[in-house]
Amino acid sequence: MRIGMWISRSVAAGWVAFALSSHAHPEFQIFVQQNSSRNVDCAMCHAHPDGPDGLKPGQIGSLSHEEIAQLQDARAAFDPGHVVDNPLLNAFGNSLVEQLGKRKLLELRQHPEQLPDAIGYTSDIDGDGIPDAEEYLAGTHPVDPQHGDPWRLFVINMRRNAFHIVMLVLATAAGLFGLNNLLRWFELRQRIEDEAEDDVPPVGDSGRA
């Protein structure tokens, strides 16, 4: 019974998927891989790493009625400025539709290298300090603050955490200063002890003197 239900739901979901015909645009992915030499997948813009087709969470076959309605709304956003919440896309994918509109986005499939200029270098969805457009070019994840060009992330985080780093340096310097002084104190004490040992006349010398 359960298996039968599962099969019928899967078939139904498959039909829905076919009817809705999800739109993946691999041109962008191919360009990014060539440009950055980094391996990227559909998760750059989509909710699922394998793209919108399928039955897994984040793919078209798994959508509820409300989500299908959201999808239809997003698909109608041909012009820029519409706030969309396409369940097949992640925050970056949705922001592309909002900023450019579907029409422009479809045009850019022929020129994926122009996408960064089209969206500009101000938006930074994950807040890691690297604009989305640069993350797109570098093949790093635009919605993961832990992912970005390593050197740029390092420099940006150094600036952001300047206070913590200064405090760390001060704490370490204070610790080293204390240890160094302790070391000098021990050295001094040992020298005094050594000198005191040298000054003590050997046993029997006093009688001769």
Binding site: R38, N39, D41, P49, K56, G139, H147, P150, N157, L168
Partner: protein, 372 residues
């Protein structure tokens, strides 16, 4: 009757040999701490490397315990819990990064420690137990890396673990008779089920957080005890005659170095996420039915064996590995009469191999496979 004295002589000999190597009658605060002297010479910096390994282990211990508060060792929740730690737990990203970076630092320092002690001939009688416990600690450190790699349950973790376990089973092809089944059984024992899954994760988790730390505690105890009992090895041929007291002078300098290393580790952990060096699809949750992303590789500290495995026949690499392991364990006897100069040359060659294969392994692989 003639056999008995021989036996008792053998037993007596063993007792004497052990007494030489573990002079437990010397155990006192005075001999272990107050009276211990550390030689001072141009290679004396190498004496600090063991302490740095210990310090990295302590960082691992503290950060690992903190991660345990949130980590869920189940295939359904492991990745999500790691993501939760990184994104939502206060200071979670810092702790996780510190754990990851300190793991790499620990392996780096342990390799440096191994090579320098080898070059300084610090395995000489009566320090054989120190050396062998050190080699065991090296293997445990690598086991920490291997088992810990699986725990986040992302694509690279699971797929690299599969490759690692597969190579254990492959060794069976080169063994005769019933022995050929042994590696497969070892794999099953580690894996716990037909494929890498929940049982594997549970076993790796238990090994990573319970078995290996307990083994380390025991071995570090033995290692440090023998180091303190015998003192530091002279390390150089031309003895300067200068020494400094272990306590407080050497210990305080050691602490200063720990402070500097901690500062560097903390800044790197704060500013540089470890995952930024890899392609992001490798860190997506593992999907048994999904596509395997390109670029699955073990951690950098396994490159010394990974790239040879990719380029050479399996049996050659396995044989080489067994020989190296055997030589490492038997070094105190094999290199008994070898000069420090020769040992330094061998250690330098080993270091050069490790550096080249780690930094340029991919280029070498592409060159020989004709992909360049």
């Amino acid at each position: 009757m003639a056999i008995i004295p021989l036996r008792s002589g053998g037993w007596q000999g063993l007792r004497e040999a052990l007494a030489d190597r573990m002079p437990i009658e010397k155990i006192s605060f005075k001999t272990l701490i107050q009276k211990k002297e550390v030689p001072v010479h141009r290679a004396a910096w190498a004496y600090y490397l063991g302490g740095l390994v210990l310090f990295c282990f302590l960082i691992q211990l503290v950060t690992g315990v903190l991660l345990l508060f949130y980590y869920q060792p189940t295939v359904s929740d492991a990745h999500a819990s790691v993501e939760y730690i990184t994104k939502y737990v206060s200071g979670g990203a810092l702790i996780r990064n510190l754990h990851t970076w300190a793991a790499s630092a620990m392996i780096f320092f342990v390799l440096c420690h191994l090579l320098t002690t080898f070059a300084m001939k610090a395995f000489e009688k009566p320090r054989e137990i120190t050396w062998i416990s050190g080699v065991l600690l090296l293997l445990i450190t690598f086991s920490f890396g291997f088992t810990g790699y699986l725990l986040p349950w992302h694509q690279i973790a699971v797929n690299a673990t599969k490759v690692g376990l597969q190579s254990i089973e492959e060794a069976g092809r080169y063994l005769p008779g019933q022995l050929s089944e042994m590696p497969g059984r070892v794999r099953e024992l580690i894996q716990g089920e037909a494929a890498v899954g929940q049982a594997t994760l549970s076993r790796f988790y238990a090994i990573h957080v319970v078995f290996l730390p307990l083994a380390v505690f025991g071995l570090i105890g033995l290692h440090l005890l023998t180091v303190q009992l015998h003192g530091m090895s002279q390390g150089v041929d031309k003895v300067t005659g200068k020494t400094e007291r272990f306590f407080p002078f050497f210990v305080l300098k050691d602490f200063s170095l720990w402070g500097i290393v901690f500062l560097i580790a903390a800044v790197v952990a704060l500013c540089l996420p470890f995952e930024a060096f890899f392609s992001y699809p490798l860190f997506a949750p593992y999907d048994a039915l999904g596509s395997t992303p390109d670029g699955i590789k073990p951690e950098w500290y396994f490159f010394f064996i990974y790239y040879p495995l990719e380029l050479l026949p399996f049996w050659v690499v396995m044989l080489g590995q067994m020989v190296v392991l055997g030589v490492l364990f038997a070094a105190p006897w094999i290199f008994k009469g070898t000069s420090r100069r020769t040992l330094t040359t061998i250690a330098a060659a080993a270091a050069a191999y490790l550096i080249i294969i780690t930094l340029f392994g991919q280029h070498i692989y592409e060159f020989f496979k004709g992909d360049m």
